[in-house]
């Protein structure tokens, strides 16, 4: 699912390094794995952070393994299924890591309406951060909101425009607490995004604030 030539907005170095180190909350790991599935620029950068991890492990203090560790490992190998698995690759709209969480491609998503045609579904991850799929009808806006923490939004279908730029399939926008934005979907096609937050969004109008309590936006 390579879209490297058309992606203009990439993951930040610190997010890629944290993913390589394995320290991100699960929801952020999901958005990284999904973007990297589409983007060779970030895949290459991620591989280079893994190389740093390899060097760190190579040079770190070693710990003696038990005297029977090798023979125990050979028993583990003998007991396991060694048949190579087929490469994991998506032919649909959602890259494989996301399909693993949805349980299929777009048609398997169990949308819940948020009003004005906007829909969402929250994906099951560890609690430290929240991953949701958002459906924004062509031409519609997501309510104006600011952020308490970090919000990352990856476009999976269609495109949206906000105060910063235009974001199309494969592009990822990283927003922090300084930023308030109103994403509006392009007219041509309904927009589907993966949005990840590590704190609740702050809506600037009363009605969305009330809705937020019920809808866990």
């Amino acid at each position: 699912m390579n879209m490297t030539d058309t992606i203009k907005h990439h993951l930040t170095p610190e997010i890629l390094m944290a993913y390589s180190a394995g320290t991100l909350p699960e929801a952020f790991s999901l958005i990284v794995a999904t973007h990297v599935s589409m983007c060779d620029v970030c895949r290459a950068e991620l591989d280079s952070y893994d190389a740093v991890g390899g060097v760190v492990m190579e040079d770190a203090v070693t710990a003696d393994v038990s005297s029977d560790a090798l023979s125990s490992t050979m028993k583990l190998i003998a007991a396991s299924d060694t048949a190579p698995k087929a490469p994991r690759r998506s032919t649909g709209t959602l890259p494989s890591p996301l399909q693993d969480y949805v349980g299929g491609d777009l048609s398997a998503i169990k949308w819940k309406p948020l009003g004005m045609g906007v829909k969402q579904v929250i994906l099951s991850t560890s609690k430290a951060a929240t991953a949701r799929l958002l459906y924004i009808p062509a031409g519609a806006a997501v309510p104006d909101h600011g952020h308490q923490g970090t919000e990352m939004t990856l476009v999976l279908q269609g495109a949206f425009v906000d105060e910063e730029d235009r974001f199309a399939r494969g592009d990822v926008e990283v927003a922090n607490e300084d930023m308030e934005h109103t994403p509006i979907a392009d007219m041509g096609e309904d927009c589907i995004c993966l949005a990840v937050t590590d704190a609740p969004l702050k809506f600037n109008a009363l009605i969305p604030r009330i809705a937020q309590r019920f809808l866990r936006i």
């Binding site: 390094m17 390589s20 394995g22 991100l24 952020f28 794995a33 999904t34 620029v41 740093v52």
Partner: protein, 214 residues
């Protein structure tokens, strides 16, 4: 945030002077090379021997070198000794099972084994799922490009050398990042790692691979 640079890390140039380490492709001294080579033996032949002939002697060599490193890494990441021992054996068994996935044009053996150990760490210590990117579209008949593999090996050696040469304070920060002691905002402090060349090399290998599959 738009981040499109292939060889640069954008505005954070706190340690960007270190890029120069990787540009010195030929000027490291003989003594430095010996030091680097000692810790970056090429394990490709052993991994291929496991893949092609289930070679237990080759596996024993890999095990002697990597198992204590994986265990040390897991203990520093917060595992107690018995959990680290158990996970180390699982990591090494995974190495055997996934030997056919090893691609020396994209990763050195220590890089690849690090990723296996890291995933086991997330699973066993953090009790989280680890979403992984899609596999690249290569067939079992596509042998990695030799020149790419050699180029990557050299650049990995230079990376290892450059990291060794970092000021102590920054080297410790990097270790802490990989042992899981730093949050991702703290990690922002250490961008500017000397990764430019290795990143371009991996990118080139990916492009070749994509081209070969067309």
């Amino acid at each position: 945030m738009a981040h499109v640079g292939v060889s640069e890390f954008g505005p954070c140039t706190k340690y960007s002077v270190l890029h120069s380490h990787l540009d010195l492709t030929t000027s490291t001294t003989g003594q430095d090379k010996t030091e680097v080579n000692k810790t970056n033996k090429d394990w490709t032949a052993q991994i291929y021997a496991i893949r092609d002939a289930q070679d237990q002697a080759a596996f024993a060599e890999l095990f002697a070198h990597f198992a204590p490193r994986v265990k040390g890494f897991l203990i520093k990441s917060g595992a107690d000794a018995s959990l680290a021992e158990e996970c180390t054996q699982e990591v090494m068994a995974t190495l055997w099972r996934k030997a056919h996935m090893f691609d020396p044009s994209r990763a050195s053996a220590s890089t690849w084994i690090f990723t296996i150990a890291r995933n086991r760490k997330i699973d066993a210590l953090r009790k989280q799922r680890r979403p992984e990117p899609e596999d690249l579209p290569w067939g079992p008949e596509a042998e990695p490009d030799q020149a790419e593999a050699i180029g990557l090996k050299q650049e990995t050696e230079q990376l290892a050398f450059a990291i060794k040469e970092l000021p102590e304070k920054q080297r410790i920060l990097i270790e802490q990042a990989y042992f899981g002691d730093l949050s991702h905002s703290e990690i922002a402090e250490i961008t500017g790692l000397p990764l430019g060349t290795i990143k371009s090399r991996i990118r080139l290998a990916l492009e070749r691979l994509r081209h070969a599959m067309k």
